[in-house]
Amino acid sequence: MWKISSSSSRSQFRIRRSPPTATWSLRCVEDIVFEKNCEQERRRKSVGRFGFYFPTMINFVLLISRQGKVRLTKWYSTYSQKERTKVIRELSGVILSRGPKLCNFVEWRGYKVVYRRYASLYFCMCIDPDDNELEILEIIHHFVEILDRYFGSVCELDLIFNFHKAYYILDEILLAGELQESSKKTVARLIAAQDSLVETAKEQASSISNIIAQATK
C-alpha cells in the first residue's frame, strides 16, 4: 500500500476527473491539488503516539481593521497566495460580524482563531484545536503592549505607515509559530539595537553618497 506522508508515494497515484455529463470522451487528469490536500489533512489530523492530540503552534497572525482592510499578515504554515486571500476574506467575514460580548474564539475549518479587538483593529491568531486559547490572548496582548511601547500609544495609522516595523517587532516575539521572548524589555532592546544599526549605516551611506554626488558633478 502507500504511505501518505512520504514523497515517493506521490507518483503512485493517478487522478482522473470524471467527464462532465455533456461531453463523454473528454477526460482530464489532475494531479497535484488532491494529493496536497490529502497530505495536509492527514498531517493536521495526525494523532500523537498515544492517541492524544498535542497542541502545537500558531498557524498565522492577522491584523484586520474594522473595515476589513488587512494591516499585517504573517504565515507560519504553508498557504499559497490564493489560499491566503481566501482565508483572509473568510475570516474577516466571520470575526468582524461577531458581537462584542461573545467569546474571543471562533472555530474555523478545524482550527481555532483567537481574536482580540483593540480600538479599530482586530488581532487574530489561528491556532491548532488543542492549543491554549487563553494563552494566545495573552500573547496578543503582549504583542500589543510592545507595539504600544515602541510607537508610544500605538494607533492604526502607526501600523499602516510603519508596517515594516510592526513586522520586525513580531519577528522578535514569534518565530516558527512559537513564542520567542516573554520579556517586553528584551524585545524593545533588540529592536532598538537593530534600529540604531540601520541609522548608523544610513548616516555612513549618505555621507559616502554625498561624496560621490559631489565627485560626479
Binding site: R14, I15, R49, Y79, K101, E135, Y167, D171
Partner: protein
C-alpha cells in the same frame, strides 16, 4: 537614501493609496507604482532597491501580485549592509512561501549569514529560516543551526532553538541531532532561551520516541525545578503579567511535563507536588492565571496523576464553568470534553451548568456545550436532559435549531427505554422543529408506531392535536397524515385511551379536514401531498359517510401540474368510483413494519442478505418520486385499463389480484410470492408507502405487456431490484435482464459518508474476468440544500486501472430526494495479491459555496 528615515516616497505612496475613493482609483495608483518599480528593477537600480521592496510589501498586503519583486529580495539579502539585509529578509518572508523555487537560491546567502560575525545578521537569517524554510533547506542548513545552539549569545540561542523546531517539523529524521543541545538549553537562566528550549523539547518528543525517552530520563527533574522557581519567584518586573512571573514559561513547562508524564508513572509521580501547588496557588481572577490553570488541568488529565489531583482539576473546571467570562466558559467546556474519558462521574456533576451553556447567546459556547451534553447523556439522566433540550428548542435561534434537533433526536432514539416516552418526545420535537428533522428519523418513528398496537390510538390523537397548532412543520404533517390514514378510526372512536390523555371528540369529517388542509396547504411539498392523497383514499373506505367528499377532493387533483399527484388522483378516483368491491381490501391497514430490519438498514450494515436492498434504498426511498415523474412513467390511462382488467377478469390473475393492485399503487401489502427476500420486503413497504411502489411483485407477466412503455422507467434503477419490476411491467422473461445469477455476489458498501453526502458502492464481477470489477456508485445528498456542479473523482494505486463513466447528473437534490449514479470499471492487475483501494474526492456547490470532500475507501469486500 534610506526609505524609512527620509522615507517620503514610501509614505507618499501609502498616502496616495489611502486617499483613493474607489477601488478603481486604488488599482490605478498601484499599477503606476508597480510599473515604476518594474522599470527600476530592470534598470538594476541600487539606490532605491530597498525602498521599492518596502513599497512592494505594502502592495502585496493589499492583495496585488508582486512576484516580480522576488529576485529583488535575494539581491538585498546578498548585499553586505545590515539595513539591506533586514528589509531583504522581511521581503523574503512576506513575498515568498516555502513552495517557491526561488527560495532555493537563497540557501547560500543564508548559510553565509548564519556564520556572520554580527549577531543581528545571524538573527535575521535564523528568523527567515525558521519562518519559511523548506525540507531541502532544513537538510542543508541544520548543521549551522545546531552549531548556533551551542553559542553564547542568548538571542541567537533562542532563535536557533525555535528554528530547530521548524527543521524537525520539516525533516523529522534530524531530530536525533538536536536531542543533546535541547536538553542543555533547559539548564539556561535566560527566560527567552528557556522558553525556546522547552518548546524545542516538546517538539522533539512529538517527533521521536527515543528523544522522548531521553528527555524523560534527563530533564524531568530540571523541568520541575524550573516550574518551582518560576512559580515561587518574587516579583520580577521584566516578566510580570498581572502578578504572575512569566506565565508563558509556566504554560510551556506544563505542556512539556504533559508530554513526559504521559503513560509514565515514575515521572508523573515526580510532578504531582508541583502540579498541586500550581493548581491551588495560582490566582484565578485574571485571564493569565486562568490560562495557567487551564494548562495545568490539561496536564493533570494527561499524565498519570493521583486521583486527588484529578478531583482538584475537575473542580477547577467547575469553577471555570460558572465564571462570567465567556472565554473561560468556552475553554472549560472544551476541557470537560477531554475529561469525560478520564472521569465521567465528575463531569456529570456539572450537568446543570453545562446545560445552561447550551442556551448561551454565544454560538461558539452553544456548540461546545451541546456536544458535551451529547456525551453526558446516559440511561439515568436522559429524561431530564431531553426535556431541557426540547424546552430550549422552542426558543433557540433558527440557525442553531438544525444542530439541536439532530442531537435531540439521536439522544431520544439511543436512550429511550419505553416506547411511550420515545413517541412523546419525538412528537414534541416534530411539532417544535419538524422542518429540521431528517427523513430517516421520522421514518423510524413510523416504524415504532406501527409496532406498538396499544399506542397507535394515542399516537394518532396526539398527532391530530399537534397538527392543529403546527401545520408548518413538514415532518410532523407527514407523520400525522400517515397515522390518520392508517389509524383514522382510532382517532374518531377513541380506541385505547391512555390514562394520561385528555378526552377529545373528533368526528370523521374533522379527520378528513385535517388531511385536506395538509393536502391543500401551498407550502406542503410533493411527498406530503402524495401521502395526504393516500391517507384520503384509506379514509374513504374507513369513513363511509365522507366518501363522497373525499372523492371530490381527490378529483380536484386530477388537473394537478405535478404528474405524480395527477396520476395518483386519477387512479384513486377510479378506485373510489368503479371498484367499491375491492376497495376495502385494497386499502387495508399496513402490516406491521419490521423494526429490526429497518434499524439494521439504517445503521448501514453491509450484511450480504441486505445488500440488494441497500443498493436500492436511495432510489426507492424518495427518488422513486422522481422516477415516475421524470423519466418514462406509463401514462395514466393504460394503468386504469390495467386496473379494469384485473378486477373484471380476476381469474386471469389467479395468484393474488389485490396484491398486484396494491403493488401498483405503492401501498403494498407483503407479497406472498416474494418471501425469499423476507427480511427486506417489509421494510420496503415503508418506502413504498411514501411513494409509488417498486416493491417486488412476481405476478404473471401475461397482462403486463399492456404497458410496454414502462421499460425505461425500470432501466433507470439499479439492476438487482429492477428485475422483478421489469418482469411485471413489460413482460420480459427474467433472463432478459443482465445475467446476474452468474455474477459473483459482493455486498454493497457505504464507501463514504459525511454530514452532507453518502456514497454507496455495489459491485459486479464476471467470473471469466476476475480482475475487472464494475462498481456502480450511488450518491445521496443528506443535507437540506441541493448540491450542484457535482463532480466525483477517484484515484487508485498504480496497479489498478480505473475507467469512469459519466455521472447520471451533476445536480443532487436535497434530503436524499434523488441520487446520482455513476459507474466505474476497475481493473486490478494484481488481483488476488493486493486488495483494492481507492481515494475519492467530491467537488460541489453547496449553498453557492464551493465545497470539497475527500476520503479513502479501504473497506472493499475481499476478493476484488
Amino acid at each position: 537614501m534610506n526609505p524609512f528615515s527620509s522615507g517620503t516616497r514610501l509614505r507618499d505612496m501609502i498616502r496616495a493609496i489611502r486617499a483613493c475613493k474607489t477601488a478603481a482609483e486604488e488599482r490605478a495608483v498601484v499599477r503606476k507604482e508597480c510599473a515604476a518599480i518594474r522599470a527600476a528593477i530592470s534598470e538594476n537600480d541600487q539606490d532605491y532597491r530597498h525602498r521599492n521592496l518596502a513599497k512592494l510589501m505594502f502592495i502585496h498586503m493589499l492583495g496585488y501580485p508582486t512576484h516580480f519583486g522576488q529576485m529583488e529580495c535575494l539581491k538585498l539579502i546578498a548585499s553586505a549592509g545590515f539595513p539591506e539585509k533586514r528589509i531583504g529578509y522581511l521581503g523574503l518572508m512576506l513575498l515568498l512561501d516555502e513552495r517557491q523555487e526561488v527560495l532555493m537560491l537563497v540557501t547560500n546567502s543564508l548559510k553565509q549569514d548564519l556564520n556572520h560575525s554580527n549577531q543581528y545578521i545571524v538573527g535575521l537569517a535564523l528568523c527567515a529560516l525558521g519562518n519559511i524554510c523548506s525540507a531541502e533547506m532544513a537538510r542543508d542548513l541544520a548543521p549551522e543551526v545546531e552549531r548556533l545552539l551551542h553559542g553564547r549569545d542568548p538571542n541567537i540561542k533562542k532563535k536557533a532553538a525555535l528554528c530547530s523546531i521548524r527543521i524537525i517539523r520539516k525533516v523529522p529524521d534530524l531530530a536525533e541531532n538536536f536531542m543533546g543541545p535541547a536538553a542543555s538549553l533547559l539548564k539556561e537562566k535566560h527566560h527567552g532561551v528557556l522558553i525556546a528550549g522547552v518548546q524545542l523539547c516538546t517538539d522533539l518528543c512529538k517527533a521521536n520516541t527515543d528523544a522522548l525517552e531521553y528527555l524523560r530520563k534527563n530533564c524531568t527533574e530540571g523541568l520541575v525545578r524550573i516550574l518551582k522557581d518560576v512559580s515561587n519567584s518574587p516579583y520580577a518586573p521584566e516578566y510580570d503579567i498581572a502578578g504572575i512571573t512569566d506565565p508563558f514559561l509556566h504554560i510551556r513547562v506544563l505542556r512539556l511535563m504533559r508530554m513526559l508524564g504521559q503513560e509514565d508513572a515514575d515521572s508523573s509521580e515526580y510532578m504531582n507536588d508541583i502540579l498541586a501547588q500550581v493548581a491551588t496557588k495560582t490566582e484565578s481572577n485574571k485571564n493569565v492565571g486562568n490560562a495557567i490553570l487551564y494548562e495545568c488541568v490539561e496536564t493533570i488529565m494527561g499524565i498519570e496523576a493521583t486521583s486527588g489531583l484529578r478531583v482538584l482539576a475537575i473542580n477547577i473546571l467547575g469553577r471555570f464553568l460558572s465564571n462570567r467570562d465567556n472565554n473561560i466558559r468556552y475553554v472549560a467546556l472544551n476541557m470537560l470534553m477531554k475529561a469525560i474519558t478520564v472521569d465521567a462521574q465528575a463531569v456529570q456533576r456539572h450537568r446543570t451548568t453545562i446545560l445552561e451553556c447550551v442556551k448561551d447567546s454565544d454560538a461558539s459556547i452553544r456548540k461546545r456545550a451541546l456536544e458535551l451534553v451529547f456525551l453526558l447523556v446516559n440511561d439515568g439522566n436522559v429524561k431530564p436532559l431531553a426535556k431541557e433540550l426540547i424546552d430550549y428548542l422552542e426558543v433557540s435561534d433558527q440557525e442553531f435549531k438544525g444542530d439541536l434537533t439532530a442531537k435531540i433526536c439521536s439522544i431520544v432514539e439511543k436512550f429511550s427505554q419505553e416506547k411511550l416516552w420515545y413517541i412523546d418526545q419525538m412528537f414534541k420535537v416534530l411539532s417544535l422543529a419538524g422542518n429540521y428533522v431528517k427523513d430517516d428519523v421520522w421514518h423510524a418513528l413510523i416504524v415504532v408506531i406501527s409496532n406498538a398496537p396499544d399506542l397507535q390510538g394515542y399516537s394518532v390523537r396526539s398527532l391530530y392535536r399537534a397538527l392543529q397548532t403546527s401545520y408548518e412543520q413538514e415532518s410532523l404533517v407527514r407523520v400525522a397524515v400517515w397515522c390518520i390514514g392508517e389509524y383514522g378510526e382510532m382517532l374518531v372512536n377513541n380506541v385505547g385511551v391512555l390514562e394520561v390523555e385528555e378526552p377529545m371528540t373528533v368526528t370523521e369529517s374533522d379527520a378528513v379536514d385535517a388531511v385536506e388542509v395538509a393536502l391543500k396547504r401551498h407550502s406542503s411539498d410533493m411527498t406530503t401531498r402524495a401521502m395526504s392523497l393516500i391517507a384520503l383514499l384509506k379514509l374513504s373506505s374507513r369513513f363511509t359517510p365522507t366518501s363522497e367528499r373525499i372523492k371530490e377532493i381527490v378529483t380536484q387533483h386530477k388537473g394537478s401540474v405535478a404528474l405524480e399527484l395527477q396520476q395518483r388522483s386519477i387512479e384513486f378516483n377510479s378506485i373510489i368510483q368503479r371498484h367499491q368491491n375491492i376497495k376495502s381490501s385494497l386499502v387495508e391497514r399496513m402490516p406491521v413494519l419490521d423494526e429490526a430490519a429497518y434499524l439494521g438498514k439504517r445503521a448501514g450494515s453491509s450484511q450480504p442478505t441486505l445488500s440488494a436492498e441497500k443498493s436500492s434504498k436511495p432510489t426507492t426511498s424518495a427518488a422513486s418520486l422522481k422516477l415516475p415523474n421524470g423519466v418514462a412513467k406509463p401514462p395514466a390511462a393504460p394503468l386504469v385499463d390495467l386496473l379494469d382488467l384485473s378486477s373484471d377478469d380476476a381469474p386471469v390473475l389467479p395468484s393474488a389480484p389485490n396484491d398486484f393492485l396494491n403493488d401498483l399503487l405503492g401501498i403494498g401489502l407483503p407479497n406472498s410470492s416474494s418471501s425469499g427476500a423476507a427480511p427486506s420486503t417489509t421494510t420496503d413497504l415503508l418506502m413504498d408507502l411514501l411513494s409509488i411502489g417498486t416493491s417486488p411483485a412476481q405476478n404473471g407477466p401475461s397482462d403486463s405487456n399492456v404497458v410496454p412503455s414502462s421499460a425505461k422507467a425500470a432501466e433507470s434503477k439499479p439492476a438487482p431490484v429492477t428485475a422483478p419490476v421489469m418482469d411485471l411491467l413489460d413482460g420480459l422473461p427474467s433472463n432478459a435482464s443482465p445475467p446476474r445469477d452468474e455474477n459473483l455476489v459482493y455486498p454493497t458498501i457505504t464507501a463514504f459518508e459525511s454530514s452532507t453526502l453518502k456514497i454507496a458502492f455495489s459491485f459486479e464481477k464476471q467470473p471469466e474476468k476476475p480482475q475487472v470489477t464494475l462498481i456502480s456508485a450511488t450518491f445521496t445528498n443528506l443535507s437540506s440544500s441541493t448540491l450542484t456542479n457535482f463532480i466525483f473523482q477517484a484515484a487508485v494505486p498504480k496497479f489498478v486501472q480505473l475507467h469512469l463513466d459519466p455521472a447520471s447528473s451533476s445536480t443532487l437534490p436535497a434530503n436524499g430526494n434523488g441520487t446520482i449514479t455513476q459507474s466505474l470499471r476497475v481493473t486490478n492487475t494484481q488481483h488476488g495479491q493486493k486488495p483494492l483501494a481507492m481515494r475519492v474526492r467530491m467537488a460541489y456547490k453547496f449553498n453557492d459555496e464551493d465545497k470539497l470532500e475527500q476520503g479513502q475507501i479501504s473497506n472493499f469486500p475481499p476478493g476484488l
